[in-house]
């Protein structure tokens, strides 16, 4: 009886191969560096500030819960030098705009449809966020958004904010 299972497994791996080939397509990695340019522009705007970068997409469920929290982050820590940048990774920007209509954002949003910035930051999951200190280096990051861990997320930000105050605006 067990012999039959082996043939079964061979059949499955064959089917698996067929599906792979039929829809393999070279993802057009045409040079759309506008996403990276937009990022650079923003990072230079926020020169000397602590930056919280959040990678999100309309189809990612935890993002719906992280937006209100990021709004409150902005109103509470804006004047202490926190800037928030949300990088949208939707393939179809219409879905992202629809998401923003239902989940208002007080912070800046840039679009990275090809996922260039995401690969640069070597994203490990969705959503994922990074805390950059005042000289722009990543000091903390977390994958996912769990409302129980909010105090930890905020602690990371406050710590970065309290670091050596760079003489800035």
């Amino acid at each position: 009886m067990f012999v039959k299972n082996i043939q079964l497994l061979k059949a499955i791996t064959f089917a698996l191969g067929v599906i792979m080939i039929t829809n393999f397509y070279a993802s057009a990695a045409f040079a759309n560096s506008s996403a990276k340019q937009k990022l650079q522009k923003r990072l230079s705007d926020y020169q000397g500030q602590v930056i919280y970068i959040d990678f999100w997409a309309s189809w990612c469920k935890p993002c719906r819960k992280s937006f209100p929290w990021m709004n409150s982050l902005k109103t509470r820590f804006y004047d202490q030098g926190l800037r928030i940048l949300a990088v949208n990774l939707d393939k179809d920007q219409v879905l992202a705009k629809e998401f923003i209509k239902n989940n208002p954002a007080l912070f800046d949003i840039i679009f990275d449809t090809q996922g260039e910035i995401a690969s640069e930051f070597k994203l490990e999951g969705m959503p994922m966020s990074f805390v950059l200190d005042r000289n722009g280096s990543v000091v903390a990051s977390h994958v996912g958004f769990n409302s129980k861990k909010i105090t930890d997320y905020e602690a990371e930000i406050v710590e970065a904010l309290n670091q050596r105050e760079l003489a800035n605006d």
Partner: protein
């Protein structure tokens, strides 16, 4: 009292299957898959492996009471006297 792991379980079969699952896991899977931000289509409700649990439960009940096979997608136990 429920016998936790009845002695007569044919361990060899389970071990064989576990071994196959692991090889499948280790070898084939590392290059398959998508980047975390490429899960937009997979996140659609209709792409869930069991898109309607209610329907799956109702079907499972019908086929459990009309056929000699059950489970596969989920536990096989029927939980009713209908078979």
């Amino acid at each position: 009292m429920i016998k936790i792991i009845p002695a007569q379980i044919n361990c060899s079969i389970i071990l064989k299957v576990l071994m196959i699952l692991c090889t499948l896991l280790a070898s084939g899977c590392s290059n398959l898959g998508v980047k975390p931000w490429e899960r937009d289509l997979l996140a659609k409700p209709e792409m869930a492996l069991t898109s309607s649990p209610i329907e799956a439960g109702l079907d499972e009940h019908i086929y459990f009471s009309k056929e000699a096979t059950s489970g596969g997608r989920s536990f096989a136990g029927g939980g009713c006297g209908c078979n």
